[in-house]
């Protein structure tokens, strides 16, 4: 499947522009909110002494009033991976804090999204194939219900049931305290054991959206002539359901997948707080509690960048599934 160069350039360009806007937004927002963050912060932290305020100003590049200069300094720092210093876990720079937290979030969100997408399809396909059956109606009802409850409420309920009453899973955290002394295999087992419930929560919370999208798409596809022709050709139910039905229903739901990614990460933030899972979500939460502005900015940037990257990948994978896109 050779790529159509125009499509490729358009998608890459779009991703860079989005990235640029996210960075600029990240820079402008604190400054637009009135007052300059450094002095507000210094007084708040009751650090009092002028050197600290001056240090903060320097760090924010506020010593020079012109916005442009600050912007240039900000971009320059960013290129060197310097996102400023986090107050809560002083003196470690924001970048390190984020790099430590990102794998946990990325791991759970990616596995959860892929699994939920897969399971959501299977249910959606089966539901649409036997439209109106008990299975179809019950999945629809639960999907509606799950779509209107917060992620973190599901998380709490799951902890209550699975961790507290049934004690199948730990109450939270990502690893056992003494993990360093474990063998490699035990380490992995411990990580998976802790990660299971958060991933399971994310799957259940996002499942509903995928079921609804795919079911509707497949219902539309089932009424097409080529489905009728496939049946007339005496093709097996499996081939008709997957090679003809699901493949065509997959396309529109794939674009839905891209926009839903941002929503999933939003949900993951709150879920991590409930599980006190040391991902980007928990870091952001603590940053907010401690008014740790650089860390808040840093986490926003990391979230935005990771979502943009995932979308770009999804954009590049899309032509592989839909022949009409790559070639026109």
């Amino acid at each position: 499947m050779r790529y159509n160069s125009v499509y490729l350039l358009k998608r890459l360009g779009f991703a860079f522009i989005t990235l640029y806007v996210a960075i600029t937004l990240n820079f402008l927002l604190p400054r637009l909110m009135g007052g300059d963050p450094a002095s507000a912060l210094a007084s708040e932290k009751a650090l009092g002494s002028q050197e600290v305020v001056k240090a903060l100003k320097a760090q924010f590049g506020l010593d020079n009033p012109s916005l442009l200069y600050q912007y240039a300094k900000y971009l320059n720092q960013l290129l060197h991976g310097n996102l400023g210093v986090s107050y809560a876990n002083y003196p470690s720079p924001v970048a390190d804090v984020m790099v430590k937290a990102l794998p946990w979030t990325f791991g759970t969100v990616l596995t959860a999204t892929l699994l939920s997408y897969l399971v959501g399809w299977l249910i959606g396909i089966r539901g649409a194939w036997k439209a109106g059956s008990l299975f179809d109606n019950s999945t629809l009802f639960t999907a509606f219900f799950l779509n209107s409850v917060p992620f973190f409420w599901i998380a709490i309920i799951f902890i209550m049931i699975f961790s507290f009453y049934l004690e199948w899973f730990p109450l939270g955290q990502a690893i056992d305290p003494g993990i360093d002394s474990f063998s490699a295999l035990d380490k992995i087992k411990s990580v998976l054991y802790h990660a299971f419930l958060p991933v399971f929560t994310l799957i259940i919370a996002t499942l509903a959206g995928h079921i609804l999208v795919l079911r509707n798409n497949l219902m539309r596809v089932l009424s097409e002539d080529y489905m009728l022709l496939a049946k007339a050709k005496g093709l097996s139910a499996a081939r008709r359901k997957y090679a003809y039905g699901a493949r065509n229903a997959l396309l529109p739901s794939f674009t839905g997948f891209m926009t839903s990614l941002g929503h999933v990460i939003g949900g993951a933030i709150t879920t991590e707080i409930v599980f006190s899972y040391p991902g980007v979500g928990l870091v952001t939460f603590n940053a907010i509690l401690n008014h740790d502005y650089p860390l808040i900015q840093g986490s926003f940037l990391f979230i935005a960048v990771s979502v943009i990257v995932c979308n770009l990948i999804a954009d590049l994978v899309y032509p592989l599934i839909d022949p009409r896109v790559a070639l026109n």
């Binding site: 097409e224 002539d225 080529y226 009728l228 022709l229 496939a230 049946k231 007339a232 050709k233 005496g234 093709l235 097996s236 081939r239 090679a243 003809y244 493949r247 065509n248 396309l251 599934i321 839909d322 022949p323 009409r324 070639l327 026109n328």
Partner: protein, 331 residues
């Protein structure tokens, strides 16, 4: 000519919010081996529903309400699904209207041609690919087009692929539902000539369904006219051209503006098709029929079958009209 397909009192209904719709009501006809039988009628007359009823492709809420369909001696209505599936495409294939979505947009032409063969002969393997190429040549399409996707072909080419697909298992009956309606007239002419050529070569029978009566008069051996779910007349091509007997067929034939001959005012058929939920009593055409008589609105006309074909109209039974009166009725 021995009979390939015999349809007796076929009835198809579907439930709608406003009541049960009798889309096909007691339709009977037969198609000989190697015969091209046309089924014509206007929208809502049940011609496509009849075809889908025969090859069990009715979509709910439509369902078969009665009648028998015998293909090559096998009673189709009683066959369980698995056995019916074996007949699909091997005994009877179908060509649908050449709308854009006749072919699966995400599969290459090659795999769509082959999957019909592989479904019936799983061990066909490499040989299936070779047969796919033969099929393309059969309809004068270059073999390299096998690797393109449906959206890369023109309407005419897509329709040729679908026709080739219908030939894949050398069926004895091919049902064509408005195969060329959406095509330009020049492309349609090419497709029709190709269908006739293939029919000549393989000798399969065709059930050809369209609303385009002139096209049908040019290519079909015998023609059945349907109105509001009923088969009102069957006649050979010559019979139909020289002078149909049923008033509706006469009206329909005179609704097509001719290309040749002097310009004269055409009289269509007044009124509009009846509501199939509460159809008019007796003969369903009587509200629009210029020569409706009293009994037309009360009793259904019996079917008069003779050497000239079939006609279901009161003009032709009780009074046993003499030849002159019949011809007078025809003008």
């Amino acid at each position: 000519m021995s009979k390939l397909l015999q349809v007796q009192n076929l009835s198809i209904e579907y439930a709608s919010p406003r009541g049960v719709v009798k889309a096909v009501d007691n339709v009977s006809f037969s198609i000989g081996k190697g015969e091209i039988f046309g089924l014509a009628g206007e929208s809502g007359c049940g011609k496509s529903t009849t075809a889908f009823g025969i090859c069990r492709l009715l979509r709910p809420p439509a369902r078969l309400a009665g009648g028998s369909v015998v293909l090559d001696g096998i009673e189709l209505t009683e066959l369980p699904d698995e056995q019916f599936d074996k007949l699909r495409w091997s005994k009877m294939s179908i060509v649908l209207q050449s709308a854009m979505n006749n072919l699966n947009p995400v599969l290459k032409i090659r795999s769509q041609l082959m999957d019909a063969i592989v479904a019936h002969e799983p061990d066909a393997g490499k040989e299936a690919a070779k047969r796919a190429e033969q099929l393309m040549r059969l309809v004068d399409l270059p073999a390299d087009r096998l690797d393109s996707y449906p959206h890369e072909l023109s309407g005419g080419m897509r329709q040729r692929v679908v026709i080739a697909m219908a030939m894949a298992m050398k069926p004895s009956l091919v049902i064509m539902d408005e195969p060329t309606t959406a095509l330009d007239v020049v492309v349609q002419n090419g497709i029709i000539r190709k269908i006739l050529e293939l029919q000549e070569q393989f000798g399969f029978s065709i059930l050809f369904i369209t609303h385009d009566l002139p096209l049908m008069l040019e290519m079909c051996d015998r023609i059945g006219i349907m109105y509001a779910g009923r088969l009102v007349e069957i006649a050979s091509r010559q019979e139909m051209k020289s002078g149909p007997r049923h008033p509706y067929t006469q009206g329909l034939l005179h609704s097509f503006p001719p290309l040749y001959g002097p310009k004269r005012r055409l009289e269509g058929i007044p009124g509009h098709p009846p509501d199939l939920i509460r159809p008019p009593g007796g003969c369903r055409f009587h509200p629009r029929c210029a020569r409706a008589m009293t009994q037309c609105s009360s009793r259904e006309p019996a079917v008069l079958a003779d050497e000239r074909g079939q006609v279901a109209c009161h003009l032709y039974n009780e009074e046993g009209l003499s030849v002159e009166q019949a011809s007078a009725a025809r003008e």
